[in-house]
């Protein structure tokens, strides 16, 4: 994986020094809160419901064991012993003291990490397929492009004050594991008929209060022109994106209002101009980055067959281990969704344990998924049982990946100052209602996503079942949505009817699963049945 060079390190070290000075000036009174607020936000430091919250960037969700261990140590040293992995593949600490923030950034910088551009109207942390470089179905590794985008977008002066925040995701296989089409820019690495590697560029997707699926703006782009093309995409947005209304300021609104064809025309015009400026990094730079993402030294004779006589282990392997491109290896997803637990939360001890396992068994690599789980990308299948035993002893062996218990939930009103309703207690109740593993597996793939407000950090628009928490005259109320997907078959969920209380929505979800079980055809997922039979049977079951 990518290692910081002297320029990367100098940049984050300089930022630590700068922010340390800014905090000192705030504490001395030299800076007012009004002056300080945009400065702290540029370093990922929010003031949330109960305390300061620090959001740490994890570029394209990739960590080495030293970095992950540091995240655990920070949780112990400066927070309350845990961290929260987010749908942006980042980690958040909920109980940060302002005076500790510079020391935390210094600790992060010591392992090549930071909190830069995790807030504000700039290009945020680029996300990627969490199986990148490991998946059996991948046509090319998207991480070198993600890293190039990180370097391009970090401190990019032209895009430091965009109309709104800007999110980019990149994948390298037809299976979309990054909700790519629901980003401001979504990139898919593809191979054309001539066998050449290129990029398909989607622009104008997003969730939030106005969910949209990004149309294709460029079918095939040479990777050696990626920076210039994205520069053009951003420049057109920066020029014409609305700044008079924050709810209409995202690029999806611009693309929707002028149309994909007109947006494409303007981008191509700008792109042609930018190509004359020579902004594109030299090919040698992309080659340098690609070399750092070379495959680890896989054992070519690693055995593929393993002993599955332990039934609990066998279920976990079946549910949480994915095919790897290298024979004899697997991709392990560690569920951070124990029954009744808080989705995405991990204790400092759990974080350090996973770091140790990654060091011992996964070529020192860990990934964070947008579904708030962690991944060991390169595991010998013959090591799986030992890993499972270590995880199980730490409460980390839930065999529920992509099942109804694998719920995405935003922090909601328990932590977030923007939320209208609590998300986590609802996730816990649903998780407890469907605690039985056999029942979950019988229901099959069922992606349930909960947001505590219209900002949709819990991706409710993309849930096979989505839940949106709203404030109804000071009382929490939950709207139920069906039919969303974030995958290759991306679709937006629709609200089925009037909202529910917290208990009511759990009952409604259970009734919906009953409809699915009664009406599913062979091989159908919940989503497939919903798409085939439509809303009426579900409405009848839910509302009577």
């Amino acid at each position: 994986m990518y290692q910081y060079d002297q320029y990367d390190q100098a940049m984050v070290d300089a930022r630590v020094a700068e922010f340390s000075d800014q905090v000192a000036r705030r504490l001395s009174g030299a800076l007012s809160e009004e002056q300080f607020r945009p400065l702290r936000l540029k370093n990922g430091l929010y003031l949330q419901l109960h305390a300061y919250m620090l959001r740490v960037a994890i570029p394209y969700g990739t960590l080495n064991s030293r970095q992950l261990r540091k995240l655990g140590d920070i949780a112990d040293t400066y927070d309350r012993g845990y961290g929260h992995f987010t749908t942006r593949q980042n980690i958040q600490y909920n109980w940060i003291r302002l005076e500790d923030a510079p020391a935390i950034l210094a600790d992060l910088a010591s392992v090549g990490m930071h909190a830069i551009q995790t807030s504000g109207n700039c290009i945020r942390n680029t996300t990627a397929d969490h199986f990148a470089g490991a998946a059996a179905d991948e046509v090319a590794d998207p991480r070198p492009y993600a890293e190039l985008l990180r370097q391009w977008s970090t401190f990019h002066p032209e895009f430091d004050y965009l109309p709104r925040k800007f999110k980019v995701a990149i994948i390298g296989s037809a299976t979309d594991r990054a909700a790519m089409k629901l980003h401001d820019i979504g990139i898919q690495v593809v191979i054309n008929a001539a066998g050449e590697e290129g990029l398909r560029i989607h622009v104008g997707g997003g969730m939030g209060r106005t969910p949209m699926i990004a149309p294709v703006i460029r079918e095939f782009l040479s990777p050696l022109q990626m920076v210039s093309y994205l520069e053009a995409c951003l420049r057109v947005y920066n020029r014409y994106g609305r700044r008079d209304n924050k709810y209409k300021a995202r690029i999806k609104i611009l693309v929707h209002e002028i149309g994909a064809d007109e947006y494409r025309r303007q981008v191509e015009e700008e792109f042609a101009h930018i190509l004359t400026l020579g902004l594109e990094p030299p090919p040698a730079e992309l080659d340098r980055i690609k070399a750092q993402f070379a495959d680890p030294a896989f054992d070519p004779v690693a055995p593929g067959k393993i002993d599955l006589s332990d039934p609990d282990f066998a279920v976990w392997v079946d549910q949480n281990v994915h095919p790897h491109k290298a024979p004899g290896y697997g991709i392990v997803t560690i569920s951070l969704k124990p029954v009744g637990g808080i989705p995405g939360d991990a204790s400092a001890d759990q974080i350090r344990l996973i770091a140790d396992i990654a060091r011992d068994h996964s070529f020192d690599e860990v990934r964070v998924t947008h579904a708030q789980n962690l991944v060991l990308p390169h595991v010998r299948r013959s090591d799986l049982y030992a890993i499972w035993q270590r995880l199980d002893a730490a409460g980390l062996a839930s065999a529920n990946l992509d099942l109804i218990g694998d719920i995405i939930a935003c922090p909601g009103l328990d932590y977030c100052s923007l939320a209208n309703a609590r998300s986590i207690p609802l996730a816990q109740k649903i998780s407890a209602r469907f605690a039985d593993g056999d029942r979950q597996r019988d229901l099959g793939e069922l992606k349930l996503k909960i947001s505590g407000c219209i900002n949709a950090c819990g991706h409710h628009h993309a849930g096979h079942i989505g839940v949106l928490g709203v404030d109804r005259k000071g009382v929490e109320n939950y709207q139920l949505l069906f039919g969303g997907s974030e995958g290759a078959d991306t679709s937006l969920a629709t609200i089925i009817g009037p909202g529910f209380s917290e208990d009511g929505v759990v009952d409604a979800i259970e009734r919906a699963t009953g409809v699915y079980l009664a009406q599913r055809a062979a091989g159908e997922r919940f989503l497939d049945t919903w798409r085939r039979i439509g809303a009426t049977p579900f409405k009848e079951a839910i509302y009577g």
Binding site: L27, L49, H50, Y52, L98, Y415, R422
Partner: protein
């Protein structure tokens, strides 16, 4: 017997902790909150200028006996702490604490 009042709240500059204006200072405990009137804005401005609090604002509440209950659930959660981690709340030993939110 409950009495409708307005109370002043904000976050401690240094720690970010939720704090409530007591009439002479700040407390983490909402039951210590004092009723404020037309002077609330001036108090907030003075306290913010003195670097003691951030983002101070007035919320509706009711005084119930010796306790103060913010009217909106968001403020009640601020007053208690996360309902999903009562061990980190201001009432870690009270298993009924989450019921106060409802």
């Amino acid at each position: 017997m409950s009495e409708a009042i307005k109370v002043l709240t904000g976050n401690d500059l240094l720690t970010g902790d939720v704090t409530w204006w007591t009439g002479s200072g700040w407390s983490r405990h909402v039951d210590d909150a004092a009723a404020v009137g037309a002077d609330a804005d001036a108090i907030a401005a003075g306290e913010q200028a003195a670097q003691r609090v951030v983002g101070a604002y007035v919320v509706d509440a009711t005084r119930e006996g010796s306790g103060v209950r913010p009217r909106h659930i968001k403020e009640r959660i601020r007053a208690l702490g996360p309902t999903v981690r009562l061990d980190l709340s201001l009432r870690p030993d009270d298993p009924a604490a989450a019921g106060w939110i409802a």
